[in-house]
Amino acid sequence: MLTNEQNQQLERLLDSVQKAVRYLGGEMNQRYKPEASFGFAFCFPDTYEVGMSHLGMKILYRILNDLDDVRCERVFMPAVDMADGLRREGIPLFSLETRSPLKDFPLIGFTLQYEMSFTCVLEMLSLGGVAALSKARKESDPIVLAGGPSAANPEPLTPFIDAFLLGDGEESVVEVTQLVKALREKGETRENILFALSQIEGVYVPRFYEAVYNEDGTIRSFGPIREGVPPVVRRRIYLDFENAPYPEKMIVPYTQIVHDRVALEVMRGCTRGCRFCQAGYIYRPVRERSPKRVMELAESLISSSGYEELSITSLSTGDYTGLAELVAGLNKRFQNRRVALSLPSLRVDGSLKETLEETGQVRKGGLTFAAEAGTQRLRDVINKGVTEDDLITAVSDAFSSGYAGIKIYFMTSLPTETYEDLDGIAALAALVRQTYFNLPKASRPGGLRINISTSTFVPKPFTPFQWCGQDAPQVIEEKQRYLREKLRMKGLAFRWNDWQQSRMEAAISRGDRRMGAVIYEAWKLGCRLDSWTEHFNYERWQEAFQKVGVDIAFYANRERSYDEILPWDFIDMGVTKDFLRKENEKAKAGVTTPDCRQGCRGCGLQRLEGVCT
């Protein structure tokens, strides 16, 4: 815990920072277990408002705190004013529950949701009094873990993380915690503990592996350098999704957070196979919760939180079996309690109309549709099984159900994209607009607002596009300029992302071990909170690349060949490289792969017994 003097300094600091409520803890349903001997600091490398909106953290927080003798406490990345204040006053970054410095926890775990949070991992460790570099940690220092989707390619963070947990964390986090606790009590050495961890399925301990490079910078070989360490690490897949522990009493922040509502995960995984989408591959197979269980969870979540809104989440909620029935059931149960229902990530080709009618009576916000690409050709390339008709029907349904705000989301710079595809975006936007005006005035809501928003495609590991190069910055800029001109229409707003962040994301997400030095340098140069546009500083990142002597284009823009060893090849994600390669070839040929709910496509999961049936 902080000393009295530090506490007094902290109080003074809290008086002076923005939104101090982020640092107070003590919320409803917080778990406070100061008596439990073994501390696990659960770290989210972004601010409180972002981290507290994240479901995975809440799930693991509950699981860990349900263990006897373990106290799991939350630590978030402080905003810049607080981070600087802590450093200035010499107060270590602390947990919200008991105000314990990060360095006093035997285990520290980071959840990695996006690559642009990586510098925050270093910053948080450093603020918490823990050496950022794994090799600089001493015998009794905390063991630093990381997991989450952005650990799918763990290589860029290998200098900082002692052990990665790949795949679903529900079981592995318990196994790891109990093992470390037992071995620490026995007085085992750090090295022995890490070796023991490497024997747990799904755990990757980078220090026991080595990469050798070719002259051209590609990887010549990669593998274990210690006997008994598995050459291939297989991701953990948690199959009993129905009965999986859920944060039934979720923490209710005092302040407004990004997703200020109950999040109810009804389904994990997605079988659509959109070729750009990493989540669609790394969370297979699809696992659904029964409507009965969902109702049970909804009941306890709503009554223990007091939230006014319930959001049904998954990668593709429209695919949930019996969605309409579930929505009707939830509405019936919660209407009198004034709980609004929201359904993000609906697909436009589902039975939208019914569902809209059911949710529509509660609250009408905006609706977002992911069209992803402007022409059928390109949608076939990326395997986005949505047609223009689907979109127009959906939009028309939305308008006539009373939604006047429509957001349509596209990706630009997708593989094989041409200017015709950009024209397609503009044509589609015009058609959506026309659809609105074609409706009789009486049956459409007033105040049409169409938002077209685009982001730049980032090739990701474990997708069919993992070999692709990203468009060069000039190309991206030129395309954005072109679209801006094309999308000047009344009632329509166009938003796009600057390419700089996407370029860094492209470089880091497919980086190898040498990327670690770049991240370290960038952090030394002051990079942190890079996912915030106001804090992201491209020049500093460029400088970091230069200093380390690493070429951004080598990682971001280079097309990789099929026989190249990719940095993440040693991980068995379930989906095979061979399947991804075939999918990439089909993409180039514009051939689609239908949803595997209608028949197995042999993605690789069928190899694993009992996993995908």
Binding site: D15, L24, G25, Y254, G306, R337, R338
Partner: protein, 221 residues
């Protein structure tokens, strides 16, 4: 049935702002499972009000909120439900049952008593405090949304004394005139020639009506 819940905002939550507290207390009521009255309209919300906005940076020992139940329930049942719905760090200190026609809670507040705890010794003496109070006029400036405005602070100070390490005071708090506790301390420090602002913890101890009767001591009606 109208109810007043008397609750504590602990020191650890003193940095909670009024809006955050409002939203949180609404959720407390929703969690309680009690038959709470909602506002009408398309986006119905819990009908409740806090006695007085809580300034950021201030703990509260006897804060009050008013809400209405759509059906009468025994006091103990209501108390228990609210206590359970409050975050562990907040305590329910009492429940007062009010007649539906009784005056609304915020309209009764006229003043509040405060305690200012210093880290270490108070930077002024009891003598300096009484000299400060014996002035017939204390010109001060407050910054409002409309700009700076000068006013006389003296009539807004009901009482103030030093007790050990703490300053206790009662200040006016209503639309007819309000004095912020930190403004009061600042004036006092300036008067006593204290150069550096002392580090303190502010606590609003009680909310009082026009006869200086604490609202938390009201009887049921």
């Amino acid at each position: 049935m109208k109810c007043w819940a008397v609750y504590q905002v602990p020191e650890s939550l003193r940095l909670l702002g009024h809006l955050d507290l409002m939203r949180s207390m609404q959720r407390v009521l929703r969690r309680s499972g009690l038959p709470i009255k909602y506002s009408q309209g398309f986006n119905p919300h819990v009908q409740m009000s806090l006695a007085a906005p809580k300034p950021v940076g201030m703990a509260g020992e006897n804060e009050l909120m008013e809400f209405t139940l759509t059906e009468p329930l025994p006091r103990e049942a209501v108390k228990e439900a609210i206590q359970k719905a409050l975050p562990e760090v907040m305590a329910l200190k009492g429940l007062i049952l009010r007649d539906d026609k009784a005056a609304a809670l915020p309209a009764l507040v006229r003043m509040a008593s405060y305690r200012v705890d210093f880290y270490g010794k108070p930077p002024f003496s009891a003598r300096q405090l009484s000299d400060f109070l014996s002035q017939t006029e204390i010109p001060a400036v407050k910054t409002t949304k409309k700009g700076k405005r000068s006013y006389d602070m003296r009539p807004l100070i009901m009482q103030a004394e030093l007790k050990g390490q703490s300053l206790h005071c009662t200040l006016s708090l209503w639309e007819g005139g309000a004095c912020r506790c930190d403004d009061f301390l600042e004036q006092l420090c300036r008067f006593a020639g204290v150069s550096e602002a002392p580090q303190v913890i502010y606590t609003r101890v009680r909310l009082l009506d026009k006869k200086a009767k604490p609202l938390d001591s009201y009887a049921d009606c």
